[in-house]
């Protein structure tokens, strides 16, 4: 006789583990974007990495899912699935508090943030209000992706929500601080982009020659600190270029 589980609570339907071809599994832990689910993603990813199973090539976390790349000649997907289910059963679903806050000095407007005025027109906020709202809160780093060191940040204050540019810029300068829809982010390396540029940080978010090439890591809190003048911006920029500047990191 089959005994049906009593509860069909939504939490029972996760993790959803699906093949991405023959050498990767997609592990989905929940719908949508939530700091709680994201925290479980990072806890699980850390545990899997620490196990160091032969055959596990790389584990890549994003918002509410992660991908496990494996060598199918060494590890069977069924053994890997069992491992993932066991780890999921053992992790606490409590939100693990961030342990670092990274401060990014940012100059708003002018040539550094050419879309600040259009954001003002679209949102009805004054320039001062935009700067205060944008720099007045901590952002959670959900994940890094899209391009090297690019942080997916949450969540942008509703008062600043505005659409992407109709036509993306061919090249967005490195360090550009941008907003689009419900998101804000920083472009670590020059790349094309359709988000609205409101400012720029002189601090490098990605240096391929460092042991840890990305300044930010998932789970960090990020705070933008307004730079008052272009002179102050140039001073920090010079220090960054000569390696004298170290980003302010507060351990919580």
């Amino acid at each position: 006789m089959t005994i049906l589980p009593e509860s069909t609570d939504q939490s029972d339907s996760y993790p959803q583990i699906t093949d991405i071809g023959d050498s990767a599994l997609m592990v989905l832990l929940g719908e949508g974007v939530s700091p709680l689910t994201n925290s479980v993603v990072h806890t699980m990813v850390r545990e899997i990495q620490e196990l160091g199973w032969p055959g596990i090539r790389e584990v890549v976390p994003v918002y509410s899912s992660f991908v496990v790349h494996y060598d199918p000649l060494i590890l069977s997907p069924s053994a890997l699935t069992t491992l993932i289910q066991n780890i999921h059963g053992s992790v606490s679903s409590e939100n693990t508090a961030a342990d670092r806050r990274v401060i990014l000095p940012t100059i708003y407007g002018g040539d550094f943030g050419p879309d600040l005025h259009s954001v003002g027109e679209l949102t009805g906020c004054s320039v001062e209000e935009i700067v205060n709202i944008h720099s007045g809160t901590d952002y959670l780093v959900y994940a890094l992706g899209f391009s090297p060191g690019f942080p997916y940040l949450g969540d942008l204050d509703q008062r600043l929500h505005c659409p992407r540019l109709d036509s993306p810029r061919v090249e967005v300068p490195a360090g550009s601080v941008a907003i689009a829809e419900t998101q804000t982010g920083v472009y670590p390396v020059p790349s094309p982009g359709g988000w609205r540029l409101i400012g720029r940080t002189p601090v490098s978010l990605f240096d391929p020659l460092q042991d840890a090439p990305a300044l930010l890591k998932p789970g960090d809190r990020l705070r933008f600190m307004p730079i008052e003048s272009e002179d102050d911006y140039r001073e920090i920029e010079n220090k960054c270029n000569t390696g004298e500047y170290e980003a302010e990191v507060i351990y919580l």
Binding site: T18, D19, I20, G21, D22, S23, A24, M26, L28, E31, G32, V33, V45, P54, G55, R57, E58, V59, V60, P61, V62, Y63, S64, S65, F66, V67, H69, D71, P72, L73, I74, L75, S76, P77, A143, L144, G145, F146, S147, P148, G149, F150, Y152, P188, V189, S191, F206, P208, L209, A212, P213, A214, K217, P218
Partner: protein, 363 residues
């Protein structure tokens, strides 16, 4: 030393991959056709992970200051030594002062040029554990870019006399009509049922907008059930993502580490080699298979590579548990093996290089 008289359309240094940094948003990189790349190295007696030159479409013209042993695999781009055609998939000697050139693409898109001894580490940058060039990010390989006329590379010295000529007779034939085997998912449920059959029954053409990031296809659009957006998630080599236009894009070596479009299917590992050889205008057809079939095909491909490998001699096997055995080599060193089906696989360290091989236990 070798010097580039002409760089060719797009010639970069690539190794197997830049694994381990996708969680920082750094693409996997590496040779697009890893099978051909490994063969190129094995044909000249290099470690199969040694960085090689990935040559796209029209190849370079290279002057050799010193004698060398080389092999060209993958696409047939008509390699020539001092104006005389040399054979693909076969090692050959280059005299001092020799000039290697390419006549133009005949079949396939990418050739791999290996040189016995490998490229000297003074000429190439190892960044985040890999020599692979990531051109959009400007790092790795030669100055983070494709090679230009006048660039010079040092070749590691190795005794060339010791070397025995090698050829690979059972090499793959690349066709203008590629059949790519795929496993459905991870988001095939976000497409209409019709779309799944359309994908299996239609011919798609490779678009000119294809590159190391992805292969864009033209043909019958695939219909999403709802929105063409999903919460951004991870990607793999060979993942077929479908944006709002309905036209599939097959993600390749330099793909972004995350994507926000539904992924209908993923090309199996054994067919990744073919992805690297697709030219604009080529026809692609998809064939849905199971993961058991995918694994069988991958094992067959590995066995083909084994014919070129010097597999270490195993002197004894110790069965530790049902799913685990240990293997002892001639030097008395022990390696743990893990079961995958009824074949056993191991990673064996030769000096500073890890090689994977498998053995088959008969009862």
């Amino acid at each position: 030393m070798i010097r580039f008289i002409q760089p060719g359309t797009f010639t970069t240094i690539q190794d197997l991959s830049r694994a381990g940094f996708q969680s920082s948003g750094v693409p996997e990189c590496g040779a697009v056709d890893k099978f051909s790349m490994k063969c190129a190295n094995l044909l000249v007696g290099n470690l199969e992970s040694e960085p090689v030159l990935e040559i796209t479409l029209f190849g370079p013209q290279i002057a050799f200051e010193n004698p060398a042993v080389a092999a060209v695999t993958g696409a047939n781009l008509l390699p020539m030594l001092d104006g005389e055609t040399v054979e693909n998939w076969s090692s050959f000697a280059i005299p001092a002062g020799g000039i290697l050139s390419f006549g133009g693409p005949v079949t396939g898109a990418r050739s791999y040029l290996s040189l016995r001894g490998g490229i000297h580490s003074s000429s190439v940058a190892k960044v985040m554990g890999s020599y692979s060039t990531y051109v959009p990010g400007g790092f790795g390989g030669f100055d983070g870019r494709s090679l230009k006329a006048g660039d010079e590379l040092e070749i590691r010295e190795r005794n060339l006399n010791e070397f025995k000529h090698k050829a690979f007779s059972s090499h793959p034939q690349f066709s203008e009509n590629a059949l790519l085997r795929v496993i459905l998912g991870p988001q095939d449920h976000l497409f209409t049922e019709d779309s799944i059959s359309v994908m299996g029954d239609s011919d798609y053409q490779v678009s000119v907008d294809s590159d190391r990031m992805g292969i864009r296809l033209e043909g019958t659009p695939l219909a999403h059930l709802n929105s063409p957006d999903v919460v951004s998630d991870g990607t793999a080599f060979g993942t077929i993502q479908v944006p709002g236009s309905g036209l599939p894009i097959i993600l390749s070596a330099d793909r972004g580490t995350t994507g926000g479009y539904p992924k209908i299917a993923t090309v199996i590992s054994a067919d990744h080699s073919k992805l690297g050889q697709l030219l604009p205008g080529n026809t692609v057809r998809f064939n849905v298979v199971t993961r058991e079939m995918a694994l069988k095909a991958l094992r067959e491909q590995e066995r083909t590579l084994d014919s070129l490998r010097d597999v270490p001699t195993v002197s004894s096997i110790v069965k530790v548990a049902e799913e685990r055995i240990d293997v002892v080599d001639e030097a008395g060193e022990m390696y743990p093996f893990n079961a995958a089906g009824n074949r056993f696989n191991a990673s064996v360290r030769h000096n500073d290089h890890v090689e994977n091989f498998e053995i088959n236990i008969e009862d």
